[in-house]
């Protein structure tokens, strides 16, 4: 009873927040729209997008165009990519995580990814998309697409008209918004790996919701939208190494520090219950990641092909890197090891995929596999935090490795612009500092109001039965 009323209160808070933000957003959006003269930003950077800009002056905001401006090939690939990326979260990530927890928490873990998918979908419709992908100030987008207002397809007598995003001119805006929605979905879902087995479901829903709006949307805007200040600075992030993985990774680290360790950790044995689920999940992530990386081309073109090749190379190299590091260090090459290595490689190649060739991909993968192995094993134990499923060790560390190596290996030939490690550090630093601080504040407020953790008794009993009233036999 009291839980639901407290949940209600917190939801009110959540709904009130956008109003606070909204105070300056429309004004600044209008201001920047007025002052933007030329599409310098779009030309100088390589945000995922930028299909061939056919118009003489590239638009700087979503525009209404005739249906003849749409490329069937690009649209077909982006529709496919969108479905692939959704598959990464459900069931990919859900299974990847569920296999690693104890039997009493499997359903709760699956539930977290599924509920995250539903909640973020609606938030993306309400505010998220507008804040991330419409022009605004350097920090956050405008309010022109709240409730996806103005995103249209109009059946005309002579010609159909529809809106396209200024970030992807050859596909319908609906497809672009959906594609980016699947990114917004997986990012908070990744965080759940850090606090597996011990977070209240109500607190989790509120945390993910608020985080999605006040951390994910602004970071996505800063890095990808042409008015975002990191984009203007020239930070390279092809498919979300910074926006998705460093962002989720740092939130994961903060949340496992704020929540504290699982009851019994590290004294009690907490071996994974069913690594075959983890294996299936990792494999689905791998396949889905082609939508993530090659889809970030925003088109079915040569760069998408290069991104796909880079993704495959880096993943294989990282999986083997982790496997051999473990084989040498611990004596046996494990299934969990090779699967974790593959995910580390996928993470690390994400920011680099559209900027590097196959050789650089293999190097990035190998480094990521070994570094993430060390992060998830020795470093975690040495520092003593309980990042249960290594959301930080794999996504945070892998993301940082990838972001920095993108600066090293970015090829002018492929992307039209070289990279710089120093510039990349701006992206990493901003995300770590901003994401870390805001995540911390959200968690502390929740802890002081509704509480973040389940009781020890509920934790011992398992979240499946204590939170969801179900269990696996």
């Amino acid at each position: 009873m009291s839980t639901s009323s407290r949940l209600g209160c917190a939801l009110m808070m959540l709904l009130a927040m956008p109003v606070v933000w909204a105070d300056d957003a429309p004004a600044s959006a209008a201001a920047s729209a007025a002052t933007t003269e030329a599409p310098t930003a779009a030309a100088s950077t390589d945000a995922p997008a930028a299909g061939p800009a056919t118009a003489s002056t590239a638009p700087t905001e979503p525009v209404l165009v005739g249906a003849d401006k749409i490329s069937a090939g690009d649209t077909a690939w982006m529709l496919t990519s969108t479905a692939l990326v959704l598959m990464m979260t459900i069931p990919g990530l859900a299974l990847f995580y569920a296999g690693m927890v104890r039997k009493k928490n499997i359903l709760a873990t699956l539930m977290q990814s599924f509920a995250c998918t539903c909640v973020v979908t609606l938030l993306w419709w309400v505010i998220g998309y507008s804040w991330a992908f419409t022009p605004g100030n350097g920090f956050i987008g405008g309010s022109t697409r709240w409730l996806m207002d103005g995103m249209v397809f109009i059946h005309g007598d002579t010609e159909n008209k529809l809106t396209v995003s200024h970030l992807a001119l050859t596909i319908p805006e609906t497809v672009y918004a959906m594609f980016q929605m699947t990114f917004a979905i997986i990012t908070p879902a990744l965080i759940t790996g850090a606090f597996a087995d011990r977070m209240k479901f109500s607190a989790l829903l509120i945390f993910l919701s608020v985080w999605s709006l006040v951390v994910y949307a602004p970071i996505a805007h800063m890095v990808w939208e042409p008015t975002g200040w990191l984009n203007l600075k020239g930070v390279l992030d092809y498919a979300g190494g910074t926006v998705v993985h460093i962002n989720a990774g740092i939130a994961a680290l903060v949340s496992c520090l704020v929540l504290g360790k699982r009851v019994g950790y590290p004294k009690e044995a907490m071996p994974p219950h069913n690594l075959s689920l983890t294996f299936i999940g990792a494999s689905l992530l791998w396949v889905g990641w082609f939508g993530f990386n090659a889809g970030s081309a925003g088109a079915a073109d040569g760069r998408a092909g290069m991104a796909m090749l880079a993704t495959q190379m880096a993943t294989a190299a990282a999986a083997l890197g982790w496997m051999f590091a473990e084989w040498i260090g611990k004596g046996k090459p494990s299934v969990l090891g090779i699967a974790s290595g593959a995910v580390a490689g996928l993470v690390a190649i994400t920011p680099a995929s559209g900027f590097v060739g196959p050789t650089a991909s293999v190097i990035i993968g190998l480094i990521a596999g070994v570094v993430c192995y060390v992060a998830a094993t020795s470093m975690k134990h040495a520092l003593g935090y309980d990042d249960s499923l290594d959301a930080f060790g794999v996504h945070g560390v892998g993301g940082i490795v990838g972001a920095l190596l993108t600066g090293v290996f970015a090829s002018k030939e492929i992307s039209g612009s070289g990279g710089s490690v120093l510039t990349q550090l701006w992206g990493v630093g901003t995300t770590v500092v901003y994401g870390g601080i805001v995540s911390y504040v959200i968690l502390i407020i929740l802890d002081k109001t509704i509480g973040l953790r389940v009781t020890e008794e509920q934790e011992r009993e398992g979240l499946d039965i204590s939170l969801h009233g179900e269990s696996l036999e």
């Binding site: 044995a269 071996p271 611990k330 046996k332 494990s334 998830a376 094993t377």
Partner: protein, 135 residues
Amino acid sequence: MACRVLGISDRGREATAVQVTQSMKLITAIIKPFKLDDVRKAISDVGVQGVTVTEVRGFGRQRGHTEIYRGAEYIVEFIPKTKIEVAVTDALVDAVIDAIAKSAQTGKVGDGKIFVSELAHVIRIRTGERDEGAI
């Protein structure tokens, strides 16, 4: 449950009173799981009609083993074994023990043990037959 067992034994009380001669044994063996098929074949070859098999965990001189997940080492104290239970008449005891011991042996630590204990009564539920007739 106790009542039901009592009901059966009540019916045949006079008959068994004479026959309590401890002429049967319960042989319980703990073996390596992968040896189950060999053991089943060996004991049916010497005339055993039925066996109960249970998956169990435990430790003996073999002790446990270590599992490592992303660098976290877990010592698994109890390792999986298979328990088989066979009820036999005294005449068959030695042959069955022999069959199990031979078929379950690998010569390495962890082969398991055979326990033999007196068996007071056996009742076949379907027919109500008792003791040696029910084996």
